[in-house]
Symmetry: C2
Subunit: 428 residues, 2 copies
């Protein structure tokens, strides 16, 4: 296979003409396929249908301390839900608060609270001239939208297969007390599927931030979301690493069952030091009458324990593994050796990250859209939607059926080829 | 029955001795009764148990527009839930956003959003020197806690059986642009059970606030929570009144099913003008991945429509009406004509408001506590917990069983008598 970059203009022109022909054929099919969001497919949702039954035929809706889960009370989660999500988060239940249906909502509220009330007695951020966040890139668009919404200046930090560039992180947070946080998806990262190395986690835990209210926003969204039984990434537990390094309050760790049970109808949790949780609770007890305890009970009775969660996640993996493999096979078969793109091969999570030649991502996504395949917007994986190289594209293979995904992947690689040829030929 | 205020010192001393004797007897029983919070009793919660079944035996978990309620999507509520809570709120579904499990949380978030981002393009409140709220008193403690938490200055406005003192409200909001809102529980108010008159609602709708971002926080928590079939209060619909008065954006109307289905596992909604809802949506789409649509579906499939809601609320009324009547009978029988207390006789809602002689409320609540009866803290119905007359006590009769309530009411009136006698005798 000849690299595109080594082709003559003549060869490129001929290739372009051929690709345009194929592209016209595809457009004529009027497809409507979606590889844009990290949504489970219907088959995955079917796995949890018995959860709708677990509270149906019982009059026992009390949690283990005897509180009636149908009524007001228990602001920070029933004990058995703290235990379950504690196991999932690898921390003791006493370091857990159970929230509502969206961990993103908890992250948003954490930032909102820091704006209006500050972190553990520090100055509210809205009283400061400047607040900054570090953003490992590429990253999760909805994290970046939160900090953007609050007018927080975002600083890009390059990702590596080991995690964020820690030299840069250490330097920045130790020098600038306006830097109040960093967004992390430490395991099967969004979008690359990288897992932070032991060294990275330990360097995070040992950070010496200039700002006393600096926190690591550790969004462990894919903690148990493996694709393989025998090829799993391992992530060092950050809370104990921080405690060991003498920085117990440095991290907020978020998790949820959104991609375990039902997105939108799951339960979320924060794991943090007791001092941090006390800060959260002071806000919570004013903010809400409490979260949905029946849904907490539903989850505990359905999953039972960590082994139940793992068994369930293996069923998810069986469904989505072929989807990841189909996309990866298509990328390898169609683009391998062409020198027009690179991609990650994750062991878990929900995404494959694709890097096109510089300056091609927008064109690829636009072409895919015209051909009926919706991708995550180019640039979305960067703060302010600005990918400086215009090359990163997030591929979300889970939602379409295998058949749809096969078509979508073929169209995607076609668009990559076409956009790359056009780029190489310039404005001719 | 001789009024306490007309008794001689001698008579009072003799009465005091007799009451102290009774009180000692009661304390010796070591009771543990709770009339403190507006919580449904277990019998009421049993009314909704079939809601746990409605999604158990179906594979159809799509809303009427075909969206799978088990997955991400539909940020502001499924159409059938908007219709149901629209009917409950007496507005069109297009004026409704469905939220999570707590309308208090939505109110809190509305204030938080106003602090950091302002209301419909106006200056964020955190950038202003002073923000004030009007607080009809007595009122709902958790409203006041929210505004206190955000450092908003609260101004007491006296309640009347027709609603807040509107002369005062009109004067204050038209003169002071630091006043950004007013907390209202317009129907079966918390704690008095008063319902705002038609004139009051129309005067609200016609307000000419100095602040363009002034909003009425209309917490219609008890809209369908009648005690009687034949003796119901009627509340003028505020959104249409505001539109008619040329002030369509003046009000946020909140509601929830907390005391219809399950507290903590219900669904909440806001009704407002389209411009206001757009303001809410801009925040929501950053804040959350969406609310629990399965719980929305559960509610719609269980209640079906407004008639279903009303039928359900009649069952609630059958359970709690005897409780209200038991307390009212006890108050009348034991305190009627003594001149040491007044109380309201609501047609709906969750509370009875009791006003003792000035300077006695704290002592009464303290004595009740010592005798094993927990009441809402004296002062709680006022901003900052400060009842200037120390006379208002909120009675919540719904949670205890009839038998427990009977005992609690007897102890309460005993404590009222004893505290009143002590007050009249002074420090002798």
């Amino acid at each position: 296979m000849k690299k595109y970059g080594e082709m003559s203009k003549e060869e490129l022109r001929s290739l372009k003409s051929e690709l345009e022909h194929q592209y016209a054929d595809v457009k004529a099919q009027g497809l409507a396929l979606d590889m844009s969001r990290g949504k489970p497919g219907a088959e995955q949702l079917n796995l949890s249908m018995d959860m709708m039954k677990v509270l149906a035929d019982t009059t026992d809706l009390k949690c283990e301390t005897g509180v009636d889960c149908r009524n007001y009370g228990v602001i920070d989660g029933i004990p058995e839900a703290k235990r379950l999500l504690g196991e999932m988060s690898e921390v003791d239940p006493e370091h857990i608060i159970i929230y509502g249906n969206s961990s993103l909502n908890v992250m948003f509220d954490s930032i909102a609270r820091s704006m209006t009330h500050g972190v553990m007695g520090n100055t509210p951020w809205c009283k400061l001239d400047k607040v900054k966040f570090l953003c490992p890139v590429p990253g999760y668009d909805r994290h970046f939208k939160i900090t953007e919404y609050f007018g927080i200046e975002m600083i890009n930090v390059p990702m590596t297969p080991e995690g964020p560039d820690m030299d840069m992180v250490e330097k920045l947070v130790s020098e600038d007390d306006a830097i109040k946080g960093i967004w992390c998806v430490p395991k099967y990262s969004n979008p690359q599927g990288y897992t932070y190395s032991k060294e990275t986690v330990e360097r995070f835990a040992a950070l010496k931030p200039a700002a006393p209210d600096f926190r690591i926003y550790w969004d462990n969204a894919y903690s148990i979301h493996h694709l393989y039984d025998d090829n799993q990434d391992f992530l060092e537990e950050i809370l104990s690493a921080c405690a060991k390094a003498g920085n117990p309050n440095l991290v907020y760790k978020f998790t949820s069952t959104s991609k375990v049970s039902f997105p939108g109808s799951g339960i979320a949790a924060v794991a943090a030091s007791k001092a941090n949780l006390e800060d959260f609770r002071q806000y919570m007890q004013i903010q809400t009458i409490g979260h949905d305890k029946l849904n907490q009970l539903r989850h505990v009775r359905f999953f039972k324990d960590l082994e139940g969660l793992h068994a369930h996640m293996r069923k998810h993996a069986d469904i989505i593994r072929p989807k990841f493999e189909l996309v990866l096979d298509t990328l390898e078969r169609e683009l391998g050796g062409l020198g027009i793109g690179q991609w990650t091969k994750p062991h878990g999570g929900y995404f494959i990250s694709f890097d096109s030649m510089e300056g091609c991502a927008k064109a690829i996504v636009e072409k895919a859209k015209e051909a009926g395949v919706v991708m995550t917007g180019a640039g979305a994986t960067y703060p302010y939607g600005k990918d400086p190289k215009d090359s990163n594209i997030r591929i979300a293979p889970t939602f379409p059926s295998l058949e749809e995904l096969g078509k979508a992947a073929e169209i995607f690689v076609l668009c990559v080829k076409l956009a790359s040829v056009e780029k190489l030929l310039g404005n001719e």
